[in-house]
Amino acid sequence: MKDVSTRAAGTQPAPKARADGLVVQELMDEILVYDLKRHRSHCLNRTAALVWRHCDGSSSVTELAGRLHEELGTPIEEEAIWLALNRLSRAHLLQERVHHPSTRDRATRRTMLRRWTAVGGMALVSSIAVPGVAMAGSAIPIQCIQNCCGCKNKTPACDCSNDNSCKCCFLPGGSTVCSNNCGDDCHNQGGTCFQFDNNTCP
C-alpha cells in the first residue's frame, strides 16, 4: 500500500476507497465490509461509511468534511475526517494509506475525546465476527464457534479426546465455557450445551 501523506507535502491527499476484493453489505445506518484477501470483516459506522463512500480519489479532506456537513446536517471538523481516514486506512479499506500530514496539531486528550464523539466514538470502524455461512445458519452460537472450536487437545478442560468432540456451554449474556462435559451443569446455570464434532468447526 502506498502512503498518501508523503506524496504531496503541503497539499491535502485525495483518498480513494478500495473496491477490489471486498464484499459490502449496507445496513440501515452502517456498512459492513468483508475483506476477501485478509478474511477480516469490518463495521463502518454512519460517519465512517459516509467518508468511505465519498473517497473517490478526487475529493480532499476539506471537501469530504463539507459533504458530510451537508449530509449529516452538522458541522464536521476536518480532524474528525482525518480520524475516520486513519481508521479506514488501518482497516485496509483505502487504496493508499493516509496519514495526517501535520504533526503540529498535538491534540489534548479533551479535544481528542470531543473529536471522537463527533464521529461516533471509537466505533468508527470496528471488527465483527463473521463465521462461515454454515455456522451462521447453524443453531450453534458464533461465540461457541469462536471460543471452543480451537479447544481440542489444548487444555485439560478441553481435552475432548474421548469422543473426538468438544462441548460449549453458552451462558446467558453470551459468555462461553468450553469443556468435554457441560450437560446438566450448564443447563442448571441457565445455559445451553452445544456439542462439536469434526464437521462443526470451520
Binding site: Q25, S41, V130, P131, V133, A134, S138, A139, F170
Partner: protein, 358 residues
C-alpha cells in the same frame, strides 16, 4: 421433568413469541418487554436463529441500549455479512450448474430470506437446492469441483419418496416437472436463480417446520413472512394439496404462525383452522422454544456406549408435533403419547436395521 421447569420453559417460549410477533413486518407492531425478559431469552433467540429479528424488533425501543440487545445487534451484523458472502457463492453455484444443464431449484434459507424487508434478518445455513435426478451425478461432481468457500451445499436429487424431514422430499406428492413449471425466476447476483413457486414454498416451509417439531422460532417467522408476502393469485388449492392430512398439517403450521406470532390469516381458507388448533399444539411449541436447542448426537455414535446411549435417548424423545408427522398421524385432540411412542419404535426399528443411517 418437574412441572415448575415445564412452566418456566413455556413462559420463556411465550416471551420469545412476544418478541418475534410481527418481526418480519413493516411497520413493526409495538412491543412490551423488559430488559430482564430480553436477557432471559437471549440464548433461545441465538440458538433459534432469531437473534437478528429480535434486534429489529427492539432497536428503536427503550430496550436498544440493553446489553442483550448489543448481542442481538452483533448477530444481525454477522448474519448480514455472512448472507452477502453466501449470495456470492450461491450465484456462482447456480451459474455453474446452469452451465452444465442442471438448472437448480432453491428453497428455504436464502429463498425465504429474500422475503424479509432487510438483509441479515435471517441466517442462511446450507444452500438447499434440488436438481432433476438425471442431473444428479453431474451436479454432485460440479459442486465438488467448485469447492465453494463460505457455504455448504445440500443437494437434493429430485423429490424422492421419503420423509424424516428431508426438505425437498416433503414435496414428494409433486413431480419435478410440476415444481419447475410453477417455479419463479428471481434476482441473485448477476445470474438470477429459480426458486420454488410461492405455493410450493409455503407448503414446504410448513411441512419442514412441523417435521422438526417446530423447535426453531425462525421457522414460524419464515412461514409468516412467506404467508404475508404471497402474491395476488396465490393458489391455496395448490399450497394445501390434495391429501387432506397434509393439508391440515399445513393449515396447523399456519395456525401456529398466526397464534404465536400474529401472522395474518384473514380471508384465507385456513383462517378457521388457524384459530382452532388442537389444545396441545401451541403449548408444545412454546415449551420447545423455551427449551432451546439441544444437541442430538446420532444414536449410531453410541453403539459401544450403552449407558450413554440410554441417557441420550431422552434427547431423542420427539415432541408431539414431530412424532405426529413422523408417523403421519392427524393433528387432533387426542393425547400425543401414543404417537410419540410409535415414532420412537419406528426410529428404533430404523436404527437397528440400518444403524449407519442414524
Amino acid at each position: 421433568m418437574a412441572p415448575l421447569a415445564r412452566r418456566s420453559e413455556t413462559a420463556a417460549g411465550r416471551v420469545v413469541a412476544r418478541l418475534l410477533t410481527g418481526a418480519w413486518r413493516e411497520p413493526l407492531p409495538p412491543i412490551d418487554l423488559t430488559s430482564d425478559d430480553l436477557a432471559a431469552v437471549l440464548p433461545l433467540l441465538l440458538t433459534g436463529g432469531a437473534a437478528a429479528l429480535g434486534w429489529r424488533r427492539i432497536r428503536e425501543t427503550a430496550l436498544a441500549p440493553a446489553r442483550a440487545a448489543g448481542e442481538l445487534r452483533e448477530f444481525h451484523r454477522s448474519h448480514a455479512l455472512a448472507g452477502a458472502l453466501y449470495e456470492r457463492s450461491a450465484a456462482r453455484l447456480v451459474a455453474h450448474l446452469r452451465s452444465i444443464g442442471a438448472e437448480p431449484l432453491l428453497a428455504k434459507g436464502w429463498a425465504v430470506g429474500r422475503l424479509y424487508p432487510e438483509p441479515g434478518l435471517r441466517p442462511y445455513g446450507d444452500i438447499d437446492l434440488c436438481v432433476r435426478p438425471e442431473h444428479c451425478a453431474a451436479a454432485k461432481a460440479a459442486i465438488k469441483a467448485l469447492a465453494l468457500p463460505h457455504c455448504v451445499v445440500d443437494l437434493h436429487c429430485g423429490v424422492q419418496r421419503g420423509w424424516q424431514g428431508a426438505s425437498f422430499s416433503l414435496l414428494d406428492d409433486r413431480s419435478m416437472d410440476d415444481l419447475y413449471a410453477h417455479s419463479q425466476q428471481v434476482a441473485l447476483g448477476e445470474v438470477g436463480a429459480r426458486v420454488l413457486g410461492p405455493e410450493d414454498h409455503l407448503r414446504l416451509l410448513c411441512l419442514h417446520a412441523l417435521s422438526h417439531g417446530a423447535w426453531r422460532p425462525l421457522w414460524l417467522c419464515d412461514i409468516a413472512a412467506a404467508l404475508e408476502a404471497r402474491p395476488a393469485g396465490f393458489s391455496w388449492d395448490r399450497c394445501l394439496g390434495d391429501d387432506p392430512r397434509r393439508a391440515d398439517w399445513v393449515a396447523c403450521a399456519l395456525g401456529l404462525a398466526h397464534q404465536l406470532l400474529g401472522a395474518r390469516v384473514d380471508g384465507t381458507p385456513v383462517a378457521e383452522r388457524a384459530r382452532r388448533l388442537p389444545h396441545w399444539l401451541v403449548p408444545t411449541v412454546l415449551r420447545q422454544w423455551g427449551q432451546g436447542y439441544r444437541y442430538r448426537a446420532p444414536m449410531s455414535s453410541y453403539w459401544r456406549r450403552p449407558i450413554e446411549a440410554m441417557r441420550e435417548i431422552r434427547q431423542h424423545w420427539p415432541n408431539g408435533i414431530e412424532a405426529t408427522v413422523d408417523v403421519r398421524g392427524p393433528f387432533n385432540a387426542w393425547p400425543r403419547a401414543p404417537f410419540q411412542l410409535a415414532a420412537c419404535v419406528t426410529r428404533a426399528a430404523d436404527f437397528v436395521t440400518s444403524p449407519r443411517q442414524r
